[in-house]
Amino acid sequence: MSPDSGHHADSPALLDRGDTRLKDRSGIAGALKAFADRVQSGDLGSLPVVIGLAIIWTVFQTLNPVFLSPRNLVNLLFDCSTVGVISLGIVCVLMVGEIDLSVGSVSGLSSAILGVLWVRLGWPPELAILAALAAGCLIGCLYALLFNRLGMPSFVSTLAGLLGFLGLQLYILGPKGSINLPYESPLVTFGQLLVMPAPVSYALAAVPGALTLVRRLRTARRRRASGLSSRALGGLLLEAGLITVVLEGMAYYLNFARGVPWMFGLFVGLVMAMNYALRSTQWGRSMTAVGGNREAARRAGIDVRLIYASAFALCSTLAAAGGLLSAARLASSNLQAGTVDVNLNAIAAAVIGGTSLFGGRGSAYSALLGIIVIQSIASGLTLLDLSSSLRYMITGGVLAIAVVVDSLARRSRVSHGRA
């Protein structure tokens, strides 16, 4: 092949390095340059949200030194987990280019189902939880049916659901209104108190880095064996090391206060599972394809309806799961559950985290990053004793900025050929 394979000259020419126009981006410097190229062409990924988070944290920390204290951050993580799980479902529907505006109501309904079945009717809590999740799944299937069979835009059907399921929540809670969940029950402990023992938190914080390293090394070895270019060992070690150091540092810091909430561990576990499903399975590939070009996906033989159904069902089920977690967090199923700003926070988190409203582009991690931004703002404003009116306005402003960034990046991608 070409002599320009550069420093690979001693090894046989690589399958994917044959084109002379291709710049070598293999070393650490190359990786940085490639990253800069991507950002320039509008493929921003999670860069804006990381920058935004740094700004938000600096501002609030200077206004109130309690903000970044371990104690406050532990609370922040407890609060993140409930809406974060809902936001993870939103990522799914956004991936296929649809929307679910009813996640707040569905989460409220699910917490009501839990309270009524468990406390009022005396069901075992496990069964009540299952029933609430099943109800969520059923609602998602209903949206999918309306979308697939009747061509009803998800915007409209879920807007109807927003009102309808809020009504259902109020109906099943009845005139007595809120239900207190048993305070000593494992569920409430999980939602309010349960944190990892320090050694467990350190062990778990090492997992993502180790997993990354093992997977990357295996891929690199297989790529070399197949005659493809592969990433150098140094870069891989650096990446995995960086992840591990950051996570261990966080665990260390949080362990000055109560420690890492198990609920947050559950949330991160779900995010990682969703990331795997979206990135490394046929289902995830089909989701991205349907969101990018529905007709092309159909012509490739993908069952487009099934993909939409899975997205809606997953979203509503995760919304129900988020409702259960927030019931556990508040130790009650009440009329306000899911009504206040859960809906917009969940959607805003996904978009702020970098999942596109236009479909076909996003990542499970956007739910994690986005919800940390949203909860940071909420927590910072609460610490400053600002009213919720201001909180709404600021969160709305941040959402608007995120959507503007999304649209601008999309335009730039189109002009740089990265649609």
Partner: protein, 272 residues
């Protein structure tokens, strides 16, 4: 769709036969009682003017559109191609005129879309190797298969769509204007590829407006005009016959132009 159309008249050797296929879009009848046979080891060229119904016919064969009436037989057995996966399952691969690629996915993902290796843990390495091999066979000029398809030129995209159609060892390949955007070398490679798969015993349908391409590879030229069959020609048929079948008249723009070019121009004697 009615299955009543007479399939018994179809040739027993044919791989795919379409009988009296009609397709209406509202008041427009894009196809009217069209017949077409595809034989194994044969290249059929489908020609016709813009809007003649070629792409519509291909989409019906690919399961993308359903005929308003008529019957389709595959291997002699009547089939209903109610969706694209039904056609793909039979081994009918298609390169669409509009290519139908996902711009947000990279080249490898597009080539393997819907047929990914190891669905629960995608085998990206094996898929990338296979993608490079397929693209190499087509002399593709694609710098990186890990770029989103949105970053490719028109011809590169066309190559990706063709590579995609070759992936699953199909039995019939339908190519709707596969060389319209290709360079000289790539066109030659695609024509070579078409002959190679023909020699392997596949049935090939190629749509092209380029008579040179058609004559170079076709074993049989089927003409569509205004949605109807308008004759079948051997590849060595005279240009005049083909053009009048396509345009439907002896006196057409092409022949008038040919005459005026042949005669010396009286108004402009300065130039030859």
């Amino acid at each position: 769709m009615t299955q009543l159309a007479d399939l018994s008249a179809s040739d027993p050797r044919s791989l795919v036969s379409l009988r009296t296929i009609s397709k209406n879009f509202g008041a427009v009848s894009a196809l009217t009682e069209v017949d077409l046979d595809i034989f194994p080891g044969e290249i059929v060229a489908l020609v016709g003017d813009n809007g003649a119904g070629k792409s519509t016919l291909v989409k019906i064969l690919a399961g993308v559109l359903q005929p308003s009436s008529g019957a389709i037989a595959f291997d002699g057995a009547p089939v209903t191609l109610s969706n694209p996966s039904a056609a793909l399952r039979l081994g009918i691969a298609t390169v669409f005129q509009d290519l139908a690629l996902c711009e947000n996915l990279d080249v490898v993902a597009n080539i393997f879309l819907g047929r990914e290796l190891s669905p629960l843990q995608l085998d990206e390495v094996a898929m990338e190797v296979r993608a490079w091999t397929l693209l190499g066979e087509l002399s593709a000029r694609i710098p990186s298969v890990r770029e989103p398809v949105a970053a490719l030129s028109g011809g590169q995209r066309q190559t990706v769509a063709i590579a995609r159609s070759l992936l699953m060892n199909p039995r019939v390949i339908l190519l709707d204007e596969p060389t319209a955007a290709l360079g000289v070398a790539q066109t030659a490679e695609v024509l070579n590829m078409i002959e190679r798969v023909r020699d392997r015993g596949l049935g090939v349908v190629i749509i092209s407006h380029n008579m040179e391409v058609v004559r170079a590879v076709a074993d049989r030229i089927v003409v569509l005009r205004l949605g109807r069959n308008n004759g079948v020609f051997p590849p060595d048929a005279s240009n005049h016959d083909l053009v009048s079948a396509i345009t439907g008249a002896d006196d057409n723009a092409v022949s008038r132009r040919a005459r005026s070019v042949a005669q010396p121009r009286s108004l402009n004697p300065g130039r030859h």
